[in-house]
């Protein structure tokens, strides 16, 4: 198992290396002088010279790349042009918010999606199946931002049941240790703050979780339907095993492999898909920060974020493969 993980980690190196080259080239491929591109049209000559010095644009390209990678390896993702703050610092501030949101969305999608998909497969062709399948189709074709706006209108503006935005009521003046607001509330014993943060997660979580939910439902349904038709399930039934045992040990265990792959894939997509949801709900996460960086053309920030998100994406894929190995011993051998 350890060898398997080590090999997979090693395979990530060329991908991340390639990505770092691409991102490095990206900023240098911007039209015109990179310093001017970074500072904008009306930059002063002194400003341009300063940027050239700080970023080392006046040195040979290979040397620049060496410096860039060296900094990366030390965990230094660069400095924001707009705020002058290290990208890593901003990252640690905003990433917990997005992670919290993505986890809420994933929880919603998995807890609802796997049982619904299983139910639909068990009653294939019946009413439950039709409803679940049409529902999931609707979930796939509805744009996230449209759904988010609708949820906000109905449950926040009209019904007033849930907050319409932000991560927490600022009036609570809660203490923040880790920037995971729910966790912070629990750590400091401010239970009302934790509850408030949790309530703020409901609408954005549902909005972001709907597409993964629809996809997980469809994959679970297809996968369970396939396993149900297999000989070993018929054998288990013929042996007279209890229905519950067959479901758990013979059907679900085999059917969950493709579902896990899908969940892993969706988890990666959630992190980037959060941009839209965060914008609608003024949820102060990476999405909104990244969006601000795009508007301001803050390239070091964009560069750092893309690299970081890609790294997380790769790690999630690795985690999925490892879990595969845990569930299905055959995977470990190949």
């Amino acid at each position: 198992m350890l060898r398997f993980i080590a090999r997979r980690l090693l395979l990530m190196v060329p991908v991340l290396f390639g990505l770092s080259v691409l991102l490095f080239a990206w900023v240098r491929a911007l039209p015109g002088d990179p310093a001017r591109a970074l500072l904008g049209e009306r930059a002063s000559d002194a400003g341009v010279a300063r940027v050239n010095e700080v970023y080392g644009f006046d040195r040979p390209v290979l040397e620049q790349y060496g410096v860039y990678v060296g900094a990366l390896l030390r965990g230094d993702l660069g400095t924001s042009i707009q705020t002058g703050r290290p990208v890593t610092t901003s990252f640690l501030e905003y990433f917990p918010a997005t992670l919290e949101l993505a986890l809420a969305a994933l929880l919603f999608a998995v807890v609802l999606g796997v049982p619904l998909g299983y139910l639909a497969a068990r009653h294939r062709g019946g009413l439950v199946d039709s409803v679940v399948v049409s529902g999931s189709l609707l979930g796939v074709v509805t744009p996230v931002f449209f759904l988010a706006i609708l949820l906000k209108l109905v449950f926040a503006s009209w019904l007033g049941w849930l907050p319409s935005g932000l991560r927490q009521d600022p009036r609570l003046d809660a203490t923040h240790v880790t920037n995971f607001y729910v966790l912070d509330g629990m750590l400091t014993g401010e239970w009302d703050a934790a509850w408030d943060a949790l309530v703020h997660l409901v609408l954005p979580g549902i909005a972001l979780g709907t597409i993964p939910l629809a996809i997980i439902v469809r994959i679970t349904r297809a996968s369970v339907a396939e396993v149900l038709d297999e000989d070993h399930v018929r054998t288990a039934r013929a042996k007279g095993l209890a229905a519950g045992t067959i479901s758990r040990r013979h059907v679900l265990r085999n059917a969950l492999l493709p579902v896990m792959t899908t969940i892993g894939l969706q988890a990666g997509l959630l992190l980037s898909g959060a941009v839209l949801t965060e914008t609608v709900f003024s949820f102060n996460g990476i999405g909104s920060y990244l969006f601000g960086a795009i508007t301001d053309r803050d390239y070091p920030v964009l560069q750092g974020f893309i690299l970081f998100i890609a790294l997380i994406y790769c790690l999630i894929n690795l985690l999925v493969d490892v879990l595969h190995g845990v569930v299905d011993p055959r995977v470990r051998v190949s």
């Binding site: 491929a29 503006s157 396939e226 941009v275 839209l276 914008t279 990244l290």
Partner: protein, 317 residues
């Protein structure tokens, strides 16, 4: 409606997958078409797409007004956005443009951006995929190396989530429709490349490829007239499904403000931004464009999935 399916190009009538008795001796293209015709969801999808294309093309004939014209801005106040009337069937929007006109021309924008971006992804992706798959399938040791190199590049592209890739491209190209189209097209390249490559490699060991090799056909000929036509089916399905996501992503990127800077432009995603501010009093401003996006995406999804099942009946569940 004719379907661009593999055997229509006149190559090998070797069917993919098991052949039902009544389909014996029928080409893959004809069998697919026959199955597709019997699928109701395919018809629903086709009708939606047909209407959408019709509206997009005939927009100037369907409305007497110009798109993105804020002629009636004076009638819109901070408390009132005029609703449906005889002159404006769906009322005005927040900027004083005719809502129906904006929606009709919005279909035009969505169709154009969606189709062009998917074409970019399809062409670049299939070129890369065909090169990698062809080289990997019949190119020997050098081919395997070419294949591996291309696929590593594709892996790198795939490691960047598509919306983020689109956003970074739009950030470089500046805010415009072109940026959106290029961005969404580029994000689709790895998907098509991987798909075509894997279906070509799956065909590499097939008897007809061995036969063509034994006959001494040139390798480029084997790839172009034998491997490619027999592998292109899943790619066509993917392209149909991608049109749905492309239309949603076009709207998403313009919603994020990466499209044309003009606020009143006739674009469904853009219309949603403006609608949000006046949501409580005039929900139709957001509902109409939102539903338009979802229904159009539904049309392409239904047809794409019906096409997938028709092409490969085993995938039906």
């Amino acid at each position: 409606m004719s379907l661009p399916v593999p055997s229509a190009t006149g190559a090998d009538p070797i069917a993919v997958g098991p052949v039902a008795p009544e389909e014996a001796g029928v080409s893959l293209g004809r069998a697919t078409w026959r199955r597709l015709r019997r699928t109701p969801t395919a018809w629903v999808g086709a009708v939606i797409i047909g209407l959408f294309v019709l509206v997009a093309l005939a927009a100037p004939l369907l409305t007497p007004y110009e798109p993105a014209s804020t002629r009636w801005a004076a009638e819109v106040s901070t408390t009132n956005v005029p609703g449906p009337s005889a002159e404006h069937w769906l009322g005005l929007d927040r900027y004083g443009a005719d809502m129906a006109t904006q929606l009709l021309y919005g279909a035009r924008t969505s169709l154009l951006y969606g189709v062009v971006s998917t074409l970019i992804g399809l062409l670049a992706g299939t070129a890369l995929g065909a090169l990698a798959g062809g080289a990997g399938a019949v190119g020997g040791r050098v081919g395997a190396w070419v294949d591996a190199t291309i696929m590593r590049v594709v892996d790198v592209m795939l490691a960047v989530p598509s919306l983020l890739l689109a956003v970074s491209i739009a950030a470089v190209l500046g805010k415009s429709g072109t940026a959106i189209v290029v961005a969404i097209g580029a994000a689709q390249v790895p998907v098509f490349a991987r798909l075509l490559r894997s279906s070509m490699l799956a065909q590499a060991g097939a008897d007809y490829v061995l036969a063509a090799n034994a006959l001494g056909l040139r390798r480029s000929r084997i790839v172009m007239s034998h491997l490619l036509p027999n592998s292109v089916g899943p790619t066509i399905v993917q392209a149909t499904l991608n049109l749905a996501t492309a239309i949603i992503e076009v709207a998403a990127l313009s919603y994020l403000g990466l499209g044309t800077p003009e606020v009143a432009s006739a674009e469904w995603g853009r219309m949603l931004v403006a609608a949000q501010e006046r949501f409580d009093e005039a929900p139709r401003l957001a509902l109409l464009p939102g539903i338009a996006i979802a229904v159009t995406a539904l049309g392409f999804t239904l047809l794409g999935e019906a096409l997938r099942e028709a092409l490969d009946p085993r995938s039906r569940r």
